[in-house]
Symmetry: C3
C-alpha cells in the first residue's frame, strides 16, 4: 500500500536531501544577514530614550500573533483537514523563514544586513498565507519535495511582485487584494492547468468530505472571518488608519450574509442552502476590501463591496466553476477562484475607484498616510488610479508566469510524482495512527472498505 | 425527505424575499445615516493632532476582535454544533449589522448621522451574543425566515432596554448581567413557553448529542471561559477599571470549579460527574459578575460570587429544569435558565448590593468612573442600589413582553413552520455533504438508520 | 462497569470531601490575604494621577488572556482529548487559584496582604501550565482526588523553586525553560517511575488514539505553536525586551521544520513521516528558548537553538523513549521527556552560554533589564552563567524530590486508586453522554465491542 520498496527507498532520500539542503542554506543566510532592527535591539532601543509604550510592538503585535498568525495557521489549517494539515504546517513554517529572507533583501536591507522586527513577522505571515492559498492546487497530487520547490518559487515571486507594486509603482494595497489574494489564486489556477491530470477524476471521491470534515471547514471559516479585520489592519497606518481598516473590514464581512443566504437558496436544489456557498462568500467579503479598507470607503461602501463579493463568489461557484473544469481543464479543488481570485480582482478594481475619488477634503491631513503620493503632489488622483490598475495587471502577469513556470518545474521527471492511484492517500507519506501498533483497532479507511466489500 | 415540491417551492421564495428586503433596507439605512466617528475618520482624527497611541482603537480592539468576537462566534457557534452552526453564523452576522443601526440611533446619533467606531463594533457583538442566547429556543423548530424575524425584534428590544437602563435610569451594568444574560434568557424562556409543542417530545432523541458533539461543546465552553474576562472588560472605564474588571472576572471564573465537581459528584448517578454540570457552572460564573466586575468587589467577593453562581446553576440543572418542563411547559433545550437566567438575576442582585455599599473611601477618585451619579452627588449609594433593582425589574418586563410578542409573531400562519416530524433535521434546509455526489459514501444518519433497521 | 456499589459510595464522598475542604480553605485565604494592587485598585490608581495608557494592563493583558490563557487551556486541553479534557479543566482552574496564593505569599506579600494584578494572572497561568505538563503522568491511572493532591503539592514546589531561582540566586529564566518545562517534565517522570504498574500494559490499547483524536492533537499543537511567542514574552521587560522575546521565539519555532521532516522521514518506516515527531519537535523549539529568548540571542541563534531542540526531540522519541520504559520502568505516555524535558535542559544550558557571553557592548543600556545583576556589577558574566547552571541543578532536585514525594503520597492506601482494569475508562468518573437517556443510540466503545465480539 505504501509503494514498492524501491520507491520507498527513493522517498527516504528524496525528502530529507532537499530539506536538509534548504535548512542549511537558510541558516547560513540568517547567520550572515539577519539582525534585530532598532526597535528590537537591546542597545539601539535604549540609546533612543523612548517611552516603553512607543515600541511598535504594542501597536502591531496584538494583531499579529494572536490574530494574523492564528488566521494563517488555524484558519488555513482547518480548511485543509486530515493529515494534510501536517503539510500545511510544514509549508507555512518554511515559507515564514524563506520570506523573511526574500522580503528582507527587498525591503529592509541596509548596511549589509537585513533588519527584522514585528513588521517582518507580519509580512512573513502574509507570504505564508499566499503560499497556502496556492498550495491547494497541488494538494494530494504531489510529494513534499515538490511542495517545497513551489514554496521557494512562490516566495520569491511574491516578494518581487510586492516590491514592484508598493515601491516602484507606488500602488496602495493595504492588505493584499492584489499582492496576496489575486496573486495566490491565479498562481494556483495556472499551476492547476499545467498539472491537469484527466485520469485523476477516477479517484475524485477521495476528496469527498465527510461530515466532521465539513464541520472543521466551517470552524476554519469562522476563524478566518473573525480575524480578518486584524489581518487587514495589521500593517496599515497607526491611529485612525488601523481603526478605519478594522471597521471597514468588519462591515464588509457582516455585509451580505443575508444576500448570500438568499442567493444560495435561490440557486440550490429544492431551495436548500449549500454550506460551501456560505463559507466562500463569507471569506470573499474579507478579500474584496483588501486594497481599500484603509481608505475613506465609508461604512456603506464597505457593505456594498461585501455584497458584491458575496454575490460574485456564490454565482461563480454555481455557474463558472463547472465551466472552468470542463472547458479550461482547470481542477479548482477548493474553489479558490471564487474565494480569492474573483474577489481579489474586484477588490483591486475597487481600489482603482477609491483612488480616483480621493480628495484633500475627504482625507484632510490623513491623506498623507493613505495616499502619500497624492498628498505630496507626485500623483493626481487619476494617475494614482491608473497606477493601481497597472498594478493589477502586473500581479496577474507575475502570477500566470509564476504558475506556469512552477507547473513545468513540478513536471520534471526526476521529481517523484505519485501515480494517480495514490493521490489523496495519506498513507503514502504518513504513518497512519494505530497502523504500527494494533491494526485491528484502526478505523477502516475508504479504500480498504472498497477492497473488503 | 426534503418536503413536497410545493413546500420546497414556497421555501425557495420564502427565505430569499425577506432576506433581500432586509439586505436592501439595512443598506439604505447605512448609506443615509452611518458615518465614521472622529477617531476613525481620516480628516477628523488628524485635525485633532493626537498622539497615535491615543486612539481608542488600541485600548479596545485587542479585547474586541481577538476576544469578544471570537467568543460570540466560535464560543456560541461551537456550543450549537452540526449544521446549525450555519444558522448561528447567519443570525449573528445579521444581528451585528442590525444592532449597529439600532444602537447607533439610540446612542450615537447627532447631526443627523450615526457615528461609528470600535465601541460600535463591541456593542454590536454584545447584541449578537444576546440574540444567540435566545436563539436556542427556536433552534431546529423554525425556518430561517422566522429566525430573522426574531433577530429583528430582539435587536430592537435589546437596544431600547439597554438605553432605558443605562441612560434613563443611570443603572451600571458593566457588561451585561442584566442587559445581556437576564434579557436573553427570559426572552427565550417566554418564547419557548409560547411556542411549546407537546408532540415534539417524540423526536426529542434528535437533540441527543453524540460523542464528538459533546467534545465540541466542551471546547466551546473553554473558549467562552477563556475570553470572558475580555468580554466583561471590553467597554468598562480605561485604566484601573478594565484591569479590575478582568481580574474580578478571572477570579470568579476560577472560583468554584472544585465546588461544582463536588456538587456534581454528590447529585450524579453513582457519584459520577456530569459534563453538562461542569460546563454550565463554568460559564454561570462569568455571568454572575457581569454587573459588578468593574466595582471594588474584592478578589474574595469575586470568588464568593462565582461559588454561588456555580452552585445555583448545578442545582437548577438537576432539580429545577425538569420541573420547568413538566409544570411550566417550557422546553429549555440547552439549559439557558441555569446558564444565563438565574446567574444573570443573581448578578443583578449582586450589583444592587455592591452599589449600596459603595463609599468614597473605597473608590477614591475612581468613584467617578464606576458610579458617576454617586460621585456627582445625584444619587446616594442607597438610591443607586434602588435604581439597580428597578433596572432588573425593567429588564424582566422587556424580556417577557418581547418573548411573548415574538412567540405570537412566529405563530402567524403565513410563516412556514416545519411540522414536528421535520424538526431538528438538517436536510430540510441544507444540502447535506456528499448527498448530491455519492450517496453511498455518506455516513448514515439517525433517521436513516431507524428506517433501515 | 462503574464499580461495585460500595466503591461508588466511597467515591461519592471521596471526591466531594477534599473538594469542599480545599474550596473553603482557599476562600478563607483569599478573604484574609488577597487585595488589588495599586494598578487595579480604584482609589490607589486614581491617586497616582497616571495617564490611562500607563496601566500595566495594556502591556500585559493582550498577551495574557488572548494568548497565554488560550494556550494553557485550549492547547493543553486539546492535547489530552476525550473526557479527560474535563479533568484538565478541573486541575488547571484549581491550580490558578492555588498558585495565586502560593506565589502571592512568596512574591507580593507586604503589609499583611497579597497584592494582585495582571502579573498575578500570568504567573498563575504559568503554574497551571506546569501542573498540566506533569498531569499526563497520572492521567487515566488516578482518581480526581489524587489529581488534586498532586496539584496542591506541585503548586507549592513550583512556587518555591521559582522563588529560589529568581529571587535568591538571581537566575534569569524569562519564561520557563527551567521553572516550567524542566521542572514539570522531571516531576512527572519521577512520579511515573514511582507509580509504575507493569500490568497496566495489558490495557495499553486504550491509550491508542483514533483518527479524530490525532487531528485534535494536531490542532492543539498548532495552537500552542501560534501562542508560544506570547507565552514567552508575557512577563519580560517592556519595550524592546518583549519585542525581542517574541521575535526570537518566532524564529526558533519556524526554525527546523524542514530538519524535523527530514529526520522523521529518515528514521520512519518506509521513509514515511510520523505526525508525533512533527508535533513534539514543533513544540520543543518553543521550550528551548524559554530562558534565553529575551537576550540578544540573534535571529540565527534562535534558528540554531530551534534546530537543535527539534533534532533532540525527534531522536529522543525514536531511540530513547523505548529505553526509558524497558530499562528505567518509566511510562512516559505522551513523550513529555522529548517535548519538555530534554528541550528544557537544553534551553537552560543555552541560557548559561548566553549569560556567559553577555557584554555591555552587545546590550548597551538594555543590559539593566536583561541581566540586572551584571549591569549593577554584582555578577560578572561568568558568575551569572554559573548561577544559571546552579539554577538548573536546583530545579532538577526540586522536581525529583517533589515527584518522588508525590508518588509516595499517591500510593497511600486510603486513596482510591483505580484497579488496572479500569484505567483509561471515562465511565468510571463521568456519565457518558446518552447513557442515561437512550442507551441504543450511544456509539459503542472499545471495551463493549470487545465484550460483544
Amino acid at each position: 500500500m505504501a509503494g514498492s520498496p524501491s520507491r520507498a527507498a527513493g522517498r527516504r532520500l528524496q525528502l530529507p536531501l532537499p530539506c536538509l539542503f534548504l535548512q542549511g542554506a537558510t541558516a547560513v543566510l540568517f547567520a550572515v544577514f539577519v539582525r534585530y532592527n532598532h526597535k528590537t535591539d537591546a542597545a539601539l532601543w535604549h540609546r533612543g530614550n523612548h517611552s516603553k509604550a512607543d515600541n511598535e510592538f504594542y501597536f502591531r503585535y496584538p494583531s499579529e500573533c494572536g490574530d494574523v498568525h492564528a488566521m494563517v495557521f488555524v484558519g488555513f489549517g482547518f480548511l485543509m483537514v486530515f493529515l494534510q494539515v501536517g503539510f500545511t504546517f510544514f509549508l507555512a513554517a518554511f515559507a515564514l523563514k524563506w520570506s523573511t529572507l526574500v522580503q528582507g533583501f527587498l525591503h529592509s536591507f541596509h548596511g549589509g544586513h537585513i533588519h527584522v522586527g514585528v513588521e517582518s513577522m507580519i509580512s512573513a505571515d502574509f507570504c505564508a498565507g499566499t503560499v497556502l492559498i496556492s498550495f491547494g492546487a497541488v494538494l494530494g497530487k504531489t510529494g513534499p519535495a515538490q511542495l517545497l520547490l513551489m514554496a521557494l518559487l512562490e516566495g520569491v515571486l511574491f516578494g518581487i511582485n510586492e516590491f514592484v507594486l508598493l515601491h516602484l509603482l507606488g500602488v496602495r494595497d493595504a492588505r493584499g487584494s492584489m499582492t496576496i489574494h489575486t496573486f495566490g489564486a491565479y498562481f494556483r489556477l495556472v499551476l492547476s492547468w499545467v498539472l491537469y491530470r484527466p485520469q485523476l477524476e477516477k479517484s475524485k471521491h477521495r476528496q469527498g468530505s465527510v461530515y466532521h470534515s465539513d464541520l472543521f471547514a466551517m470552524i476554519g471559516t469562522i476563524f478566518l472571518w473573525i480575524f480578518w479585520p486584524s489581518f487587514n489592519a495589521a500593517l496599515t497606518a497607526l491611529g485612525a488608519g488601523q481603526h478605519r481598516t478594522a471597521l471597514n473590514t468588519y462591515y464588509s464581512l457582516a455585509a451580505s450574509t443575508l444576500g448570500t443566504f438568499a442567493l444560495s437558496a435561490l440557486v440550490g436544489e429544492d431551495g436548500r442552502l449549500d454550506m460551501v456557498h456560505i463559507q466562500n462568500a463569507a471569506l470573499a467579503r474579507g478579500v474584496v476590501v483588501g486594497t481599500s479598507s484603509e481608505t475613506m470607503l465609508t461604512p456603506f461602501g464597505a457593505l456594498a463591496a461585501g455584497f458584491l463579493a458575496g454575490t460574485v463568489s456564490t454565482l461563480g461557484y454555481k455557474f463558472f466553476m463547472p465551466v472552468l473544469e470542463s472547458k479550461f481543464k482547470v481542477q479548482d479543488t477548493c474553489g479558490v477562484h471564487n474565494l480569492h481570485g474573483m474577489p481579489g480582482v474586484l477588490g483591486a478594481l475597487l481600489g482603482v475607484l477609491v483612488a480616483g475619488l480621493a480628495t484633500h477634503e475627504a482625507y484632510g491631513d490623513g491623506l498623507e498616510s493613505v495616499f502619500p503620493l497624492i498628498a505630496e503632489g507626485q500623483h493626481s488622483a487619476t494617475s494614482q488610479a491608473m497606477h493601481q490598475l497597472f498594478g493589477l495587471f502586473v500581479t496577474l502577469m507575475f502570477a500566470s508566469v509564476g504558475g506556469g513556470l512552477g507547473g513545468l518545474l513540478l513536471k520534471l521527471p526526476f521529481l517523484d510524482c505519485p501515480p494517480d492511484s495514490q493521490c489523496y492517500e495519506d498513507q503514502v507519506h504518513w504513518q497512519v495512527p494505530g497502523e504500527h501498533e494494533d491494526k485491528a483497532q484502526r478505523p477502516l479507511r475508504v479504500e480498504e472498505a472498497d477492497t473488503q466489500a
